[in-house]
Amino acid sequence: MNKRSTWALPYFIFLVLFVVLPLVLVVIYSFQDNSGHFTLANIGKFFSDKDSLATFALSIEVALENTALCILIGYPAAYILADKNLNRSAVTVVLFILPMWVNALMRTLATAELFTMAGVALGKGTLLFGMCYDYLPFMIYPIYNQLNKMDKSYAEAAQDLGATPGEVFRKVTLPLSMPGVWSGVMMVFMPTVSTFAISEFLTNNKIKLFGTIIQENINNSMWNYGAALSLIMLVIIGITTFLQGSDSQEDAVGGTV
């Protein structure tokens, strides 16, 4: 081992202890029964249990809705923040990012309190509100970054070639900001699939998400089934990430929107 790679050693140990090892354990637990024998029952149980499948479908649905909501609110916000004519100060950017400085659990608890105080019934609406509130900065920031570093001359060139402001946006600004949107999607979609705290506080556990079942199983010492569920979620997130990755790759090269 040469001298420079010695520097990487602490990180390597950290990775092994806290990332690789837990992952290996999750895989091992998933394929074991209570007494430690190999079994596929845990995986099978998920795919044969209607409730689990329904929860899973609901989680994906909520995550998709939340991601869409975040794009709808986040893109215009990022666009306004990045426009030097509309926003001249960095302070407004900080204000948008500021909620991230407060712990997500505290914000969620506070939101729940506010809803209760205002007499709003907790349910899917409040759940989506809470999720969107929690994850919006993660959508705004990458899009803002992308728009901000975009050379202004692209928009000017489009205008110069006869594009109206609307056409400039549709044909140039939007396609060029897609990498930012994709990283926003990754940062919002994936954590919302596995979240359980938000649904617990903002729906009083009326709506159970996939993360909630994993948490419940593990809390009730059903380690093997919990691990199997985690593994399934990991695989699915892995697949979506891979698909998104190749999608945005294709976008950058091919250019068909």
Binding site: D151, Y154, E156, Q159, D160, L161, G162, E167, G255
Partner: protein, 464 residues
Amino acid sequence: MAKDQRIINIEHLSKSYGDKKVLDDINLYVREGEFLTLLGPSGCGKTTLLRIIAGFMRPDEGNVQLEGRDLLDTPPHLRPLNTVFQRYALFPHLDVYDNIAFGLKLKKVPEDEIDKRVRKVLKLVAMSDYEDRDVETLSGGQQQRIAIARAIVNQPKVLLLDEPLAALDLKMRKDMQIELKEMHQKLGITFIYVTHDQEEALTLSDTIVVMNEGKIQQVGTPTDIYNEPVNSFVADFIGESNILNGTMLEDKRVSFIGHDFDCVDKGFGENVPVDVVIRPEDIYIKKNTEGEQFTGVVRTCTFKGVHYEMFVDTDSGNELMIQDYNAFEPGTTVGMHIHPGDIQVMKKERVANTYSGTVTGEGKVEFLGAEWECRTDGFEEGEEVEVSVAFGKVDLLDHEDDAVTVGNVVFILYKGDHYHLTVKTEDGEKIWVDTTDVWDKNDFVGIRILPKDIRLSKVQKKDE
């Protein structure tokens, strides 16, 4: 080739950013079909002027007309002009073909017509077979060609080019200059070209507009600008030149570097201080000193490819730059002469620093944003006065202690035996200084003037 019809007419155009005037009362017209270059150092306002014509910026005052119609209220996408951007600005998400077809598709030109026109311009810029390429895989020069193709495919009335060759290496730039010139002739469109490269301007243009500090210094053909610069800025900016202090003795007789010369200029008056410009290739240099106008000693001699560039110390202690096909060894005593037609005489823009100031107390006067000590005999407190300070009487210091005010060196002109500096104070006012000390552009300097060198005079009341 250049028809005498005006296609663009610019009147009293001004633009400021905060306190800084970027364009100051610009009046200019562009003839149909000509290749007009806006030339000047960075910050002279040339790009701002181009961006106002393109529509990306609005002026504070003034008017721009295209073919007799006001242009300023037309948004950029409706102006029949196209721009070639400095860093190309090709759309990275589209291939070469779609980049060029962008404008035509927006105008809903039929598909087969688009196809024909794209292929035609690709051929014109020698980039056929590249239509499916991703623009980011192209070299700088190729991207530049596509950027030009993308603009001219729309058949604009005027093509605006913002330093299009600045990012290319020297060899590529030379090749592209020739191609641009050919393209201009083939297309017959009016070109407005922005550059800071004087050689490029001289090579390409029908008309050159030299700009500095938001003002037009001179408009003319490349030969006019080169041979007859109207002021020392233009003389210094275009090509190499010797700029010297001189005195116009009478019509067709001028004195400089301690000798009297015949010249062709007249109408300056008698014994009037002038600036004299001599191009380095216009000084004839001989080994033989007999019968020559003046003599000197060669200090350095450098081979420059086609000619040798020599610095010669003249018998009167001036330094001249001379270009000749023959080399003269350093240390050689040489004789020189200058033909009357090669002496360009220019009226001095100013002969001393003059300011309007106010007497603020016994022995104190305020001007140039500071209070100075000087003799105020015969003037009352609060009186408005005219202040005059000779160029050579201003001391520049490299520190703020002892200085009355401070500024930055913004322009340096070598006058053969001294430097003529323009120093800008923090309020944006200017003071001109003659010095033999060497300063660099943008140097921060302290300014000091001895009390005896500040001359006050009564404000001249206009007779009317």
